[in-house]
Amino acid sequence: MNNQQQEIFEQSVGIRRTVGRSIAALVGMFAFAFALVPLYDAFCRLTGINGKVDTTAQAFVHESVDESRYVTVQFITRGSAGLPWKMDVETQQVRVHPGQPTEVDFTFSNQSDQSNWGRAVPSVSPSEASPHLRKMSCFCFAEQQLQAGEKLTIPLVFQLTHELPEEISTITLVYTLYPVKNRVSQLSSQQTQHAGGTI
């Protein structure tokens, strides 16, 4: 009988150990799921997949211009629900040489009768091109405020690197406008209600 009690005791110690380890694994995996968010972001930025580009100004990397080939850079601008802005680009596409600094003007106009904050979020396609598209100056680096009816023209200055893969002859740069919601004081009550309605 004593032997059996000993066995039961050992068993309960074993069970406690197993449960402890399982709970540790659980907590670890839950934390891992959240750790994946910054890891994913860092991974995409490092490899350039997902069309994410640096959102800080970069220096020119080349003085020379590679005149042996042309690359077409196309621009697409998209509005977004909840932000009554219009975004236009002076030209739909430009043909540039790698290494050649290029300036393109974008025009933002606030079509509402209130001032509000917005931000243009860029995306590059094909994604392999994104590390090779370097922006010296871009409106997308910061949030912007437009007064009611205001119209604003801001240039984008970019350069393609010489290392851009040979097979890429066309790059598409898409800007999508998004409202900036955390600047609550700037938002009209109507918009707040709209945001609340969609939950």
Binding site: Q11, G14, A25, M29, L36, Y40, G51, V121, S127
Partner: protein
């Protein structure tokens, strides 16, 4: 090879309980509803799980029939598209989280302690808690259908931003329900691991355990690894919806594709959570009715473990069309195809077990054989989907619907039914009515194939999934699918009838109900008394 005789085990423990003399530490169980609410007995909790799962199987089945009734003809006849979307979503959620997963947990509760010679689960009170979380979770989930704005309508995969920015207000309740169901699964998994690792009969090594126990052990590890990731994803959704974060919203610097990565990092192991225990059941039933030991037992264990490990490396094959780089497309294509190797090992082993066996075709065996054939069809269409250039054509079509229903319905669900017919004599002390069971089997096989086989063709022809209306050229295939679905659905009433009749009476079953069954559960009397193996049995390894 000489036919193997079942090893004999000492039966004193069951003799004492059968006589009604329980150990003095046990109180008389409360009666009525409280008995079921407070029970900590693994057999009673197992039965609760199975009954709950059966009810949910019918609720999810009714949702499926609403879908199939609407799709019987082109055009909108019965429901509006908004409600149709809620039906596809709820059908998926209920079948995955409330029918298939609890059914396997119920079988685990009933059979694992019996198969390893343990008196109960390691943590009986926790076991009670994990079960009673489920009715709470799914009452909450089903109640969202009656809320303003309706229930979840974004598909069972709840991709953001469809499930965040554009979701109905009830989504927060959906998240809460899924959290509760997830906690239930996790607690169940911890309990199963603790039981298997610590409570095996003296002398039973890991490599002596029946394969149902092995596959459940591996499944439990998968649950512990991925259910917290699901909990993380839905927590992020909750914060995006209610607290202004932007994990999945591009406007605030988040990324909707991240949702898909996180979801499928959970989702792919999840589909193996729903199939590995089925492998275990079939690996127990086929040797019984072939009257031969399982061919290649160690390779079965290693194959199961390999499938589980590989399941963490293939998630992006669900996302071939989101714009993955070429290297990722190739990696996920080949790693997915690699899974066919351990799966092939399993199918080979089942067939080799049957080879020159002395086979009889009782209902559990019929369901298991149908499992092997039809699951393999589902596996092959999975291989077709793994070819990433081809997947661009198949993605989100009825071909995908055909694929996963072939692995889940004649796969997981048939295995559960096989297990029920196999173990009913142990649970109730009576054999199920074989004639009724055979009718159920043949109607189910015909119904399943009539429902899902035409979906391959409508999918290849380009019919998208999750739509309430479709182009006229798909009309014939859809009519066949709907007829099959109603046949399959209504033939499940025979299953319920068979189970009810078996509980109430029938041919008496001896302790060893099947001639070729030699696992430990067949050494206790049928029906199994409430308390078994209070003195651990002595495990004797069958000697070939």
């Amino acid at each position: 090879m000489a036919p193997k005789l079942p090893p004999t085990y000492p039966l004193e423990h069951s003799a004492t309980t059968a006589a009604g003399s329980q150990a003095p530490t046990h109180h008389a169980p409360p009666r009525g509803l409280l008995r079921w609410l407070l029970t900590t007995n693994h057999k009673e909790i197992g039965s609760l799980y199975l009954i709950f799962s059966l009810i949910m199987f019918f609720i999810g089945g009714i949702f499926a029939l609403v879908i199939r009734a609407e799709l019987f003809q082109p055009g909108l006849q019965l429901v509006n598209p908004e409600f149709f979307n809620q039906m596809t979503t709820m059908h998926g959620l209920i079948m995955v989280f409330a029918a298939v997963m609890p059914a396997f947990t119920g079988l685990a509760n009933w059979m694992i302690p019996l198969q390893i010679g343990a008196p109960d689960m390691a943590l009986p009170r926790l076991n009670n808690f994990s079960f009673w979380l489920l009715p709470v979770a799914f009452t909450l989930l089903l109640s969202t259908l009656f809320m303003p704005g309706g229930g979840p309508n974004f598909g069972w995969t709840f991709y953001a931003p469809l499930s965040t920015t554009y979701a109905p207000p009830s989504t927060t309740f959906f998240i809460l329900a899924l959290h509760i169901a997830g906690i239930s699964s996790i607690l169940g998994a911890i309990n199963i691991i603790a039981t298997i690792l610590n409570m095996r009969a003296p002398g039973m090594r890991m490599m002596d355990m029946p394969l149902f126990v092995w596959t459940w052990l591996i499944t439990a590890f998968l649950l512990i690894a991925v259910m917290p990731v699901l909990a993380g994803v839905i927590t992020m959704m909750l914060m995006d919806i209610n607290f202004g974060t932007s994990f999945f919203s591009a406007a605030g610097g988040g990324d909707p594709v991240l949702f898909q990565h996180l979801f499928w990092f959970f989702g792919h192991p999840e589909v193996y959570i729903m199939i590995l225990p089925a492998f275990g059941i079939v690996s127990v039933i086929i040797p019984t009715f072939a009257r031969k030991p399982l061919f290649g037992y160690p390779s079965m264990v290693y194959a199961t473990a390999s499938i589980a490990l590989l399941s963490f490396m293939v998630w992006a094959h669900h996302m071939f069309v989101v714009g993955l780089p070429l290297a990722a497309e190739l990696f996920f294509m080949y790693s997915t195809m690699l899974i066919a190797v351990p799966t092939g090992v399993k199918i080979f082993n089942w067939i080799t077990t049957l080879f020159r066996g002395s086979i009889s075709f009782e209902s559990p065996m019929l369901f298991s054989l149908a499992f092997v054939v039809l699951f393999t069809i589902g596996g092959f269409s999975g291989l077709m989907l793994a070819i990433s250039p081809a997947d661009f054509q198949y993605h989100d079509t009825y071909f995908v619907v055909a694929h996963f229903h072939y692995v889940l319905v004649p796969g997981a669900v048939f295995a559960i039914m096989a297990a029920v017919y196999y173990w009913l004599p142990k649970w109730t002390g009576h054999y199920p009515n074989e004639r009724l069971a055979q009718w159920h089997f043949w109607l189910s096989v015909i119904g399943v194939n009539l429902t899902f086989f035409p979906m391959h063709f409508s999918g290849l022809a380009g019919m998208p999934r999750r739509i309430p209306d479709y182009a006229l050229q798909f009309a014939d295939f859809n009519m066949l699918s709907s007829l099959g679905a109603f046949l399959f659905g209504f033939s499940q009433l025979l299953f319920v009838l068979g189970v009810v009749l078996c509980v109430r009476g029938g041919k008496k079953a001896p302790a060893q109900a099947w001639e070729g069954a030699w696992d430990l559960e067949w050494t206790v009397p049928s029906p199994a008394p409430l308390h078994t193996f209070e003195t651990p049995p002595v495990f004797k390894r069958p000697t070939p």
